[in-house]
Amino acid sequence: MAEALRAGDERAFRALFDRYHQVLWRTARGYVDSDAVAEEIVQETWLAIVRGIDRFEGRSALLTWMFSILLRQAHSHHARERRSLPLSSLSSDAYGEDGCSPDRFQKDDEAWPGHWATPPRPWQKPERRLLSLEAREHLKGALAQLPERQRNVLALRDVDGAPAEEVCTMLGLSPENQRVLLHRGRSRLRAALEEYVDQAGL
């Protein structure tokens, strides 16, 4: 593929574009405030890929190299926008990397150490949709507030449905590392939805 790009092969390029434009855009979208700016970032990325393909030495996968360019463009736009990171309103931030606050579980001196002290309550599913519009906005906000690498993994795996192996290549992660980031991100988002459900009194 790199050779085809160097030769200016439009069909090969379009195949690459069709396959990866979506996921590049999804990743870029997490760094900026609008769909349109994300679009700009990705088009700049494609341009940089076409112009810079001679510099690709094959030491990493082409896809990894492509994503490294994307992230560079995304960081640059993010810095230019000078977005102030929104203060996290998630109480789940208070307990670091635990999937769920340790307070929710019984302590060593209690009857069943490690078992639920405050168990999760089943969520009522409103009608057919999994989430109301309001809950969805809450989830979007929580996703946007995740640490960068967790957000990228969740956006690619769970929003866009990209396969695990490909996400590892895109982001330069080992399978274990990817699973850890996936786990932490999903745990935070579950907690965010739980908080929403509790507050909404559903």
Binding site: Q22, Q43, A135
Partner: protein, 83 residues
Amino acid sequence: MHPDEVTCRQFIELITDYFEDALEPPTLDRVEEHLVMCDWCVTYLEQMQATIAALGELRTEPTHREPEPEVLSALASRGRDRA
């Protein structure tokens, strides 16, 4: 409680590996045994599934699905340089 049983607190940390088919016996067996016995952890698992499904509902697509003209002309000039 047997020392090699999975507690609820352990379960929630194993759940992603469970979904990813990254658990092997005996841990996998312990997790499945725990789910048979613990309705609360089943609830947690369902919440996790709902969260993942909800994320999938956020999927939207970029408006433009075509490379910009500038990209295509940069590509074309590569072809010309090669020729």
